[in-house]
């Protein structure tokens, strides 16, 4: 495994793209997808380091991250549907019910 730096650079770029998406988009579902993208970038880092270090702990962490992402998808999308029922929109700018 000589190409560790290449994988880490790709992972950093994907994470930065995800950050930009979270900060610049208004559609809640697109923001959600950008969060998935950031989680995947971290997964790539974990697997690359796991292979480089010859240790399997990183890949088991990736499995747990996938479980958390699946749970997050189920609950987050249910929340979005409930929000859409109330507000007829999923723009995050309209999520201000708890604002004082």
């Amino acid at each position: 495994m000589e190409n560790l730096t290449g994988y880490l650079v790709v992972s950093a770029i994907l994470f930065a793209i995800g950050t930009i998406g979270v900060l610049t988009r208004k559609n809640a579902i697109v923001i959600f997808m950008c969060i998935e993208l950031m989680l995947n970038a971290v997964n790539l880092t974990f697997v690359a380091f796991s292979r480089h270090l010859g240790h399997f702990d990183g890949q088991i962490f990736v499995l747990f991250i996938m479980v958390v992402a699946a749970a997050e998808a189920a609950v987050g999308l249910a929340l979005m549907i409930a929000f859409y029922k109330n507000k007829e929109s999923i723009d995050v700018d309209n999520v201000d019910m708890m604002k004082w």
Partner: protein, 167 residues
């Protein structure tokens, strides 16, 4: 040859990730995201982790993206959703680029440590990746694995409660 393949896959992953955040229609974003997930699965194969690639395709590109596409189509969101002001977009992009520069500078300043664990590429190929993974998972990581089941149970109950008629 492998370097060229890596470059092509990286280009595809980054272009489709940029498409995720630039497409107007959420469906196009979702399709681009599926492309990114497949590129990441290819990386996992190149990293001698075929089980992770299979799980990536089944869980991410399969289950999670089906949920997302299903929700997009169920809500039938109009394409002409409002855009943020340009100064907000500029601020967000600056923060993202700062994250990238920070990470890359730290990456090139530091030196990765030499291998510490027992697993080499030949060993993974001869013993099988999923067997080694399962051996670790059901011995060292047994308690976190059991806690994961509770997390999934809570997620199931939570989404059922949230999807009820009146909330």
């Amino acid at each position: 040859m492998e370097t060229l393949f890596f470059a092509i896959i990286s280009l595809m992953a980054i272009v489709s990730a940029i498409l995720v955040i630039t497409c107007k229609n959420p469906i196009n974003s979702a399709l681009a995201l599926i492309m990114t997930f497949f590129c990441l699965a290819t990386y996992y194969v190149m990293l001698d982790a075929p089980f992770m690639a299979a799980v990536q395709v089944m869980v991410y590109a399969g289950a999670i993206m089906v949920l997302i596409v299903f929700t997009i189509m169920l809500l039938n969101i109009r394409v002409n959703a409002t855009q943020k002001h340009s100064h907000k977009i500029a601020l967000g992009s600056i923060i993202g680029l700062f994250t990238l520069i920070n990470t890359v500078v730290l990456l090139f300043k530091s030196q990765p440590s030499s291998p510490v664990g027992p697993y080499t590429g030949e060993m993974i190929k001869s013993l099988g990746h999923s067997e080694l993974l399962g051996r670790d998972m059901f011995t060292t990581f047994l308690l976190p694995f059991e806690i994961t089941s509770i997390l999934l149970l809570v997620a199931i109950v939570g989404s059922v409660v949230l999807a009820k008629k009146k909330i």
